[in-house]
């Protein structure tokens, strides 16, 4: 390794740290900046999106398995929390964590069925999960409240609504931080390396001795846990649950869209996607009050992303800034282009030697 790259690395680390702190600062200061409770509530919603899409990315980003069913996990977390509070009389946040644990447990057999075979079956199961849970939670009215819905008592009864929003904004931000940290830890670990190998080429990974099924299962459960936590927190914040709205395929679709848009290979990709999509949604609602075309818009956007930038905007950004940055920071591609020539020359030489 040449010297300068070493110092460049240190510089990079500091820059990253700085920008990271900047982001954190901004996020924490948001409730202060918000001019009215509505904006605050939007902030909470976006934060929730960010948590969910980051949680989704544990599966989507590492293993490359696309789940359209995370809406179901969200719903399970929400209902689990709600039912533990109303039926079992547990304190709100105890219920939240127990619910998440239960969801994780439940997802082991599901993951087993879904992940034993490749790709397609996983997607099918993920969608089926949403539909079946919708049916169950609607029909089993005696337990879930069915279409009558489930009302969850506020954890902080004495707070006014704006204060309530503020508190939950910070709670979601905290959960997001934990999720991101976990993602980062996995990303740098040997375990994560194995997962990425699965994403790249599952057969090859297995041939190299990576127990792909176990790896996938673990990741699916981790992802489920975070999604369930997000759902539970949402339940505590929102207060009213209804199967039709909790177990909706669209919820899952939004998670995918956000993660994909931001870039599944990057720690902050989903967060970025959530910011973009979340703000866009609210913006359009404000500008064009009632739009019967919101589905069309979502669909088109998703289609565009899949077709034209399956790696999300982050690589796009990276390349963009690469063009402006000086020779000190060349992008990987042209490095190799040069080195390829170099290596070919060597091969030629060796040939002459023989």
């Amino acid at each position: 390794m040449p010297r300068d790259s070493d110092s460049r690395r240190r510089l990079g680390r500091n820059l990253r740290l700085a920008s990271l702190l900047a982001c954190a600062g901004l996020v924490l200061s948001f409730p202060g900046l918000a001019p009215n409770p509505y904006i605050l509530s939007v902030g909470v919603i976006v934060a929730n999106y960010a948590v969910l899409s980051t949680a989704w990315n544990f599966v989507g980003g590492f293993t490359g398995y696309i789940s359209l069913g995370h809406g179901a996990l969200f719903g399970l977390g929400a209902y689990g929390t709600g039912l533990l509070i109303t039926k079992a009389g547990l304190p709100s946040f105890v219920a939240l964590f127990i619910a998440a644990a239960l969801v994780a447990l439940l997802m082991v057999p599901v993951g087993f069925a879904a992940l034993r075979v490749r790709g397609a079956s996983f997607v099918i199961v993920s969608i089926a999960l949403v539909l079946i849970l919708l049916l169950v939670f609607q029909s089993w009215a005696s337990f879930t409240g069915g279409s009558r819905g489930l009302v969850i008592p506020r954890p902080f009864a004495d707070l006014t609504r704006p204060e309530h929003h503020r508190v939950f904004f910070f709670l979601f931000a905290g959960l997001l931080a934990v999720a991101l940290l976990t993602w980062w830890l996995v990303d740098r670990s040997r375990f994560g390396m194995g997962l990425k190998a699965i994403r790249e080429d599952e057969d090859k990974a297995q041939a190299l001795g990576i127990p792909t099924f176990t790896y996938k299962l673990i990741m699916f459960v981790v992802s489920a846990t975070f999604t369930a936590l997000g759902g539970g927190l949402y339940a505590l914040w929102f207060g009213d649950l209804d199967p039709v709205f909790q177990f909706s395929i669209l919820t899952g679709a939004y998670m995918v869209l956000m993660a994909l848009l931001g870039g599944v290979r990057h720690l902050f990709g989903p967060l970025l996607g959530a910011l973009i999509v979340g703000c866009a949604l609210e913006y359009f609602k404000l500008e064009y009050g009632d739009t019967p075309l919101h589905l069309v818009a979502t669909g088109l956007l998703l289609g565009m992303v899949v077709l034209f930038m399956p790696d999300g905007v982050i690589p796009a950004l990276a390349n963009l800034s690469a063009r402006f940055s000086g020779p000190a920071e060349r992008s990987i591609r042209d490095v190799t282009a040069a080195e390829l020539l170099e290596s070919n020359r060597r091969e030629a030489e060796q040939q002459e030697v023989r």
Binding site: R188, R190, M193, A207, L208, G209, T336, E339
Partner: protein, 253 residues
């Protein structure tokens, strides 16, 4: 190293008994009973569709055989999961070479590391000694200067070398190579040959599927000839060259 070679030379390595696999109507493997010489360079040849690759896939767990047994150094590996077989000490390359296209060359090797404990799982994949080991292999393959490049940007030959390096990173004692010289320029073939020789001298067993006869004959100590999903002849290259059935098998197709 040399000692190890002596000790293992005689003993059982990869063996199969009446291994059978058929797809729909087609029988790709037909009660194939083979024993390879441990510690040697074995070659597996035969006309197209004679079941060589299916054989590879069966003994590496990529496909479950319909019947028959496969054992490695006495352990039954029939129908075991690929990663289990890999961890038993069998590494393989793929017919059309396969690397992790969007990982850097270095990461391609680090991905092949097999952490034992949970702690090892969770510690950083960029530990110094592993980086060094990886760089070591890259140097031997002569592609160490590319370690930061993404694998998909490598030339075909370089990818072949990278794949081999990745396999070696798992420290297998038996290595299955599926057409290592396929579509590679002569210079590189030369390099691969030398590598295989060196690694074999260090005590590693090779099993090579190859169409390039010159390569097979010059490189291997023991040759097994497949036709219609079962071995029809085996022996030292010199003997195989002059075997009537082999010629028939090839001309017959």
């Amino acid at each position: 190293m040399a000692a190890r070679t002596e000790r293992q030379a005689g003993m059982h390595g990869l063996e199969t008994v009446e291994l059978t696999k058929s797809f729909g109507g087609v029988t790709a493997l037909d009660t194939a009973t083979v024993a390879f010489q441990h510690g040697k360079v074995n070659a597996l040849i035969g006309p197209n569709g004679s079941g060589k690759t299916t054989f590879f896939n069966c003994v590496t767990g990529m496909i479950k055989p319909d019947s028959g047994r496969a054992t490695y150094r006495g352990f039954d590996i029939t129908g075991k999961a690929p990663h289990t077989i890999a961890r038993a000490g069998i590494g393989r390359s793929f017919q059309l070479c396969r690397v992790f296209p969007r990982m850097t060359v270095l990461d391609n090797l680090l991905a092949a590391v097999r952490p034992g404990s949970l702690k090892a799982q969770l510690t950083s994949s960029r530990s110094r000694e592993e980086m060094e080991r990886a760089r070591g292999w890259l140097k031997r393959m002569g592609i160490d200067h590319l370690e930061r490049a993404e694998a998909r940007n490598l030339s075909w030959g370089q990818q072949k070398l990278l794949e081999l390096a990745g396999v070696m990173m798992g420290e297998p004692e038996t290595i299955l190579l599926d057409e290592p010289a396929g579509g590679v320029n002569p210079a590189l073939i030369g390099r691969i040959v030398t590598l295989v020789r060196q690694l074999n001298d260090e005590g590693r067993t090779f099993l090579i599927v190859e169409h390039n006869m010159d390569l097979v004959m010059s490189l291997s100590d023991h040759v097994v000839v497949f036709d219609r999903g079962r071995p029809i002849a085996e022996g030292p290259p010199s003997m195989i060259k002059s075997d009537r059935r082999v010629l028939e098998a090839y001309l017959g197709v």
